[in-house]
Symmetry: C3
Subunit: 309 residues, 3 copies
């Protein structure tokens, strides 16, 4: 342990396999400790600054719960509209300000792809990227793979279908990068052509995972250990018309799944809208609420390691 102390977490590519496995074990350990004690004392006297310049709940809340349950304190930047960013301040100045108050770690979400790296460079405190536009969301990948690891008992050799809006989503890229740290993983990218995975992502996992692009989920579902469903994020589409035209193609419900002999475990970063029907919730393979809960433990583990406490 100790390898992540003081480190920025900008990309899922930053993690080494051994770091990831240590984090998973630590998350399991913290889960037990929190069950017994509620609030621990590792984080005492430490301050987490959360800066969310895009709407978020799950990520912001799970980092907040994680820090509070570690015994630390959270100071939130507040909604962008109520901030001096409404006066036109640059992102750089905003981050210099937040960092200047001396938080022990910063969690940042904002719209500009690549700005998380810039923020990490500017700030003295370690910066954890909680989403930089369509680029990356490395801690989401951590909780995704942590859930796979807990549910299947392994990550090596698994077959994962990642479905939905792969082009504009940051979750598919970070998940691909983290899976590429393990051995012999196969990824099926399930999306219509205009929403297929970006070339830059494929470039980075080439030679490390086996991957296929497929057009529809029914083509591969019986092959899969994991079906990872994502939203068609309306706000990332070029136009509302394009959103309406494509959204019908990808929707998972109970009836669809029951057509297959083998049903993979179903994950989803949430929030879901229409693409994952509530009729799936009662199936034993539905693991997305568990996945969301896992986020709190693996983020607590990450905070503990980055803080070095």
């Amino acid at each position: 342990m100790g390898a992540l102390k003081g480190k920025d977490i900008v990309s899922a590519l930053d993690f080494r396999r051994e770091d990831v496995e240590e984090l998973f074990k630590l998350a399991d350990h913290l889960r037990e400790e929190m069950k017994d004690e509620g609030v621990l004392s590792y984080g005492k006297g430490k301050v987490l600054a959360t800066v969310f310049l895009e709407p978020s709940t799950r990520t912001r809340l799970s980092f907040t719960y994680a820090m509070i349950r570690l015994g630390g304190t959270v100071i939130d930047f507040g909604p962008e509209a109520a901030s001096s960013r409404a006066k036109g301040e640059s992102l750089e100045d905003t981050m210099l300000m937040v960092d200047g108050y001396g938080p022990d770690v910063i969690v940042l979400r904002q719209r500009t792809p690549g700005f998380a790296a810039k923020a990490a460079e500017i700030c003295k405190a370690p910066v954890i990227n909680a989403g930089d536009g369509w680029n990356e969301h490395p801690t989401q990948a951590l909780l995704d793979v942590y859930t796979i690891w807990r549910e299947l008992g392994r990550v090596d050799g698994i077959k994962v279908g990642i479905m939905g809006d792969l082009k504009y989503g940051r979750t598919p890229s970070s998940l691909s990068y983290l899976l590429s740290k393990f051995n012999n993983v196969t990824i099926y990218y399930i999306a219509p052509d205009p929403l297929q995975i970006r070339d830059e992502v494929v470039e980075k996992v080439k030679g490390k995972v086996r991957y296929y692009k497929v057009g529809r989920p029914d083509e591969v579902i019986e092959e899969l250990d994991v079906l990872y469903v994502t939203r068609l994020q309306k706000e990332r589409f070029p136009s509302p018309e394009e959103y309406e035209r494509l959204k019908g193609s990808y929707r998972i419900d109970r009836d669809f799944l029951m057509r297959f002999k083998h049903i993979p475990i179903i994950l989803h970063p949430l929030p879901r809208i229409w693409e994952l029907d509530t009729s799936v919730d009662a199936l034993p393979q539905a693991k997305y609420f568990e996945q969301a809960r896992n986020g709190m433990y693996v983020r607590a583990a990450l905070l503990k390691e980055v803080l070095g406490v």
Copy 2:
């Protein structure tokens, strides 16, 4: 004591008279302890999740102060617009997420009448309803009756006028339900016909309180121990025109009150707009700011009991 441990608080009808009286005594006790010590330690290591999906200040702040002064921690969901609810997530999924992070108690306000009961069913943590549309607001009723109990020394046998928008308000229904737990209470519902109390409310208190519907406050004011004024909540009206047409009928000011030989104590859930004039503030019968302050103590008592600490 101990009867409320782990219980959801969805409706004012859920309380038994003895629970209510115990809460009032505990509120008085906590008031003394907080006077001496500021922040107590009953809530240490406990987390309250506040979820307010409608504008609120008084209720949210008084729960927050209550939990902090008990020594606990509060994690707020944040404004709806800054959350993933803006992406179209269902209320059910939102509550599953919040509950999944393991708060010890949840305080929820949202727009859908009856959803508080649904949330209580979904969530492992006890859910306290802080307003579900026009339906109920049981902790407001607690602080209303607590104020009456402190000011008059009793609740049995009192005569209460509830005035204003009784149809669309959640405060009049919860107050009626809580008063119905006491003996020999008389309620005068003072409102124009289109805003009179809903039938479902009358059904539930019938036989437990004596009640009358009256058209104007001057008809009954000398009968009353308590005049409970409420806002005509603009946002609940079918149209702005209907709001403008009716709002003139009900307005209490000093000159109006001074016409009577006997002036009852004046309560109001606040915020007030024009229906309760600031000229009333200096009268000894004006108890609405005291009432707001009482909210913090009685909510602290409720949290302590629900948490079982």
Copy 3:
């Protein structure tokens, strides 16, 4: 010490010189203590209520960090739009409510010039004015003069140019008032006529500081120890047209400064938009980020003194 215990801080004129100097020394002392321990224990069991009814980040965050690092707790009112103020509640009622929950100190920003004094009158808790419209912002002046004191080693006898929107800004008035507590200070008010310093400000410093009104920064820059740049606050202009017409006149960049033999230290209350170019950031005279950081320490000192802990 002890002179500020329980005091409202409404205007920079409220401070005596000896209080200010004690605060600066205490700020330096707390800086050292916080370096060693992170979170101190002076504020244990104390609650700061922050009420920001105008967009703000720096002031709200620095007070929040200050209170947390003192070991206290902060309860934020939340964004105005999510509050019952959206229902039309008066400022007076809002403050009575906040004060009623018993915070140990209140920090208030709102739009109405002079309302901070009214709030101080209404509330039992000490009220710290964090900006009342174009009127005053006394703790900003504290951190400005604290930065001068640290950078120059003295305040007596210095020459300060205050530039930009002096008419609609609250920072220039509070800074002038605080500087007037020291000996032999010269102020150059650098602004076009329609944005020159308000007469009421000049009236209050007359005879205490030497002052000149000048039209352009290049006329005086070599005279100055400090150049204090301020934003032309768009939201305070009578019209967008007037904003566009005037904004071009006042802009500091590296090339401009390098024309002079002597460059004063450059301060700015931040956020900056276009009036202070990022090319200045690398100059040794650029002290505005240091100035922002200083805000946390001097506000911690002020909170400690007002709380009397």
